[in-house]
């Protein structure tokens, strides 16, 4: 890594004419030593100038983390060394990485995706996205007028302490699981969103725009509160490969959907293939509220992610659409959880997975209906597509029903790309690669059509890239 020095526009090849182009007050870069302990946490809190309650929260979470045994289910975590990881890297340090340090295959993918230069550097962690910052500022002004708060969580802790304190860690407590505890101790960045009662935000809020320093961190912490009758769509990530020299990404996303509100949270992530992506996502949906997770997982070494919805009051609805693409050396252990805690709540889980070149995808799902939660409905559909004989797909559904008056359906299908389908498409002039790509894109179409336009286009291009060279 290059020695820290202030960025200049010339260095990054970016025009300085933007009003919000640069922070004049770039602080000296900081990077904690490897490993996590009280000292590192205290250091982090000092630098962030965090309030005492957050410091206590972190230290408490760290105690919980220390006591948790290594997670044994899901994927293979035996190679994950918690002591070999930097837990806090101040953002300005991140931008010191040289473009030359970015691996060739990542650069090639940027080329193929046609990602603009400045954006590439941002995605690769070698520069800030100044264009986006301008966009972000104008969006924040707009949102301000309707009372919507959209900040990075670090700033929110300082500017809206009461609001953050009221909900932070209440949906996913530190003790929930090993990685929630780790995130609670070491978190940085992530988004904080508050939508006031009755307000409908009619364009997606993109984490990508909210680039103020630390959102690309390894331990993001996102909290979204949709007040009564409000509506919001939050989009996280992007389809370009996220390059980070660190090998652990462990985010926590907490969402509260109050009465009659509607929240959609869309994630498309394509991690570099050395990354452990271990994420906890959970939403509480109150009376007649609707929560939708749209979750696309590509890349990484191991992803363990099961977005969940707790339906707390009658009429609540949870929907989870998830897609996983496991290629060589990758294990996508993804799925969904729904908890019907109140009567007349409904849920829908749609999971699609693709395994290729020896990749493994697993669906892990949980449907829970509490005693007395009458009239609940849940529909689960799991489709797996296996592209070759070296690849693997598993399904681990759990259904726990404490109430007789319920309607649960579970469908699972495993298919291979059929010789007949390939022959049919090839007989029309498509190469084998074009034909398989078309079949795979068709397979994930139900998810892709739920994505905002630009993400849908990129998703299809990405599948095309993943499929390239897959036919020998």
């Amino acid at each position: 890594m290059a020695t820290p020095q202030p960025n200049t526009a010339d260095q990054l090849g970016i025009s300085t004419e933007y009003q919000y182009g640069f922070h004049d007050d770039i602080k000296p870069a900081f990077k904690s030593r490897k490993g996590l302990d009280e000292e590192v946490i205290n250091q982090m809190c000092d630098i962030k100038e965090e309030p005492d309650w957050m410091r206590q929260y972190r230290l408490n979470a760290y105690q919980i983390f220390k006591q948790k045994p290594m997670t044994k289910w899901g994927g293979d975590l035996s190679q994950l060394d918690f002591d070999d990881i930097y837990y806090y890297v101040k953002a300005s340090d991140r931008s010191e990485r040289s473009w030359d340090d970015v691996p060739e295959d990542i650069k090639r993918t940027f080329d193929r995706l046609g990602i603009p230069e400045a954006e590439r550097k941002f995605l690769a962690g070698v520069g800030a996205q100044y264009d986006s910052e301008v966009v972000y500022h104008s969006i924040v002004e707009e949102l301000d007028k309707i009372g919507v708060i959209f900040l990075d969580t670090d700033t929110a802790v300082k500017e809206y302490p009461e609001l953050v304190k009221k909900y932070f860690g209440t949906i996913i407590p530190s003790a929930d699981n090993q990685f929630a505890a780790l995130n609670s101790a070491a978190w940085s960045g992530g988004s904080f969103v508050y939508v006031p009662p009755g307000v409908k935000v009619d364009y997606p809020l993109q984490a990508y725009f909210r680039i103020n320093s630390e959102n690309m961190g390894q331990f993001e912490r996102t909290l979204i509160i949709a007040d009564e009758g409000s509506q919001v769509h939050y989009v996280e990530g992007c389809t370009a490969p996220i390059y980070n020299s660190e090998s652990l990404h462990s985010a926590v996303v907490e969402i509260v959907c109050m009465k009659g509100s509607r929240v959609r949270y869309t994630t498309i992530q394509n991690w570099a293939n050395n990354v452990y992506n271990l994420v906890t996502k959970r939403a509480l949906a109150y009376e007649d509220a609707q929560m939708e997770w749209v979750d696309g997982n590509l890349g990484s070494k191991l992803t363990m992610k099961y977005p969940s919805v707790y339906m707390m009051e009658p009429g609540a609805r949870g929907e989870i659409l998830s897609i996983a693409f496991a290629s060589k050396g990758q294990h996508q252990d993804a799925g969904a959880k729904v908890y019907h805690c109140a009567p007349n709540t409904t849920s829908q889980i749609t999971s699609k997975s693709i395994s290729k070149d020896g990749g493994r995808s697993s669906y892990r799902g949980w449907v829970d209906v509490a005693k007395g939660a009458k009239g609940c409905k849940s529909h689960v559909v799991c489709d797996a597509l296996i592209l070759d004989k070296d690849s693997r797909s598993d399904t681990y559904p759990v259904i726990e029903i404490g109430e007789n008056d319920t309607n649960i359906e579970h469908e699972a299908r495993v298919s291979k790309i059929g010789e007949e389908q390939l022959f049919y498409l090839m007989s029309r002039g498509l190469s084998e690669e074009e034909a398989s790509t078309m079949i795979v894109n068709g397979f994930i179409e139900p998810l892709v059509k739920e994505l905002p336009m630009e993400y849908a286009v990129e998703m299809n291009r990405l599948i095309q890239l993943q499929m390239e060279g897959s036919v020998g």
């Binding site: 389908q421 022959f423 049919y424 190469s431 690669e433 079949i439 068709g442 397979f443 179409e445």
Partner: protein, 262 residues
Amino acid sequence: MSNDLVIKDLHINVQGKPIIKGLNLNVNQGEIHALMGPNGSGKSTLANGLMGHPLYDIDAGEVIFNGINVLELEPNERAKLGLFLAFQYPTAIPGVSLANFLRLAVSAVRSESTNGTENAELIPMREFRRELRDKMRQLGVDDSFATRYLNDGFSGGEKKRAEILQLAMLEPKIAILDETDSGLDIDAVRIVGESVNRLIGPELGVLIITHYPRLLDYIRPQFVHILLDGRIVESGGWELTQLLEAEGYEPVREKHGIAEAE
């Protein structure tokens, strides 16, 4: 003519079992041939083998198309040369719209590259849409076809019409219609037959493979062949279809000493 399809002493086996046993046939652009035969005579094996289905093994013989022996070519390379197969049972491709698929297919067969492994440059969307709309109108196909997923949930008749629409868009030199009339009611046979008729001209050679002569009421072949036990045993003109219509395959079997396939 260089665009002939010349089949010489072709032998095809399926999972080790010989099905086509020395078949000879020439089809030129502008000609319409009917190949008629009872179930089990090898009709679909011939169709799939000509297009290059991987499960159909060619034991011997040659298939020369456009002056090139196509037996070593991938199905997509055969398509690019101008060979087309209308399937008896078109496969569904869920999630892929007919229009998106056809745009890629049309781009592939029209691309200059003869290398079947390179991805084709897409033809411009407007140009493609206009052409697709015109062809759909010409064939009386409903506009909704374009956005429906390819063969997914299509009725038997719709699948066959989608095949003919693909034929119209891909503009092959030789088209093989494999049992295009099977599974259709009489109205659907008429509609499909009339559609094919609209496409017939000096640039298109057609090999209609069929069990029943009824499609031939709409598409009148100049040449009729009878396939029994993997070989063409009779070739002639329209009169052969009349003979089959009147007497069935039995007299032909007896004449050539071929027992009914089990």
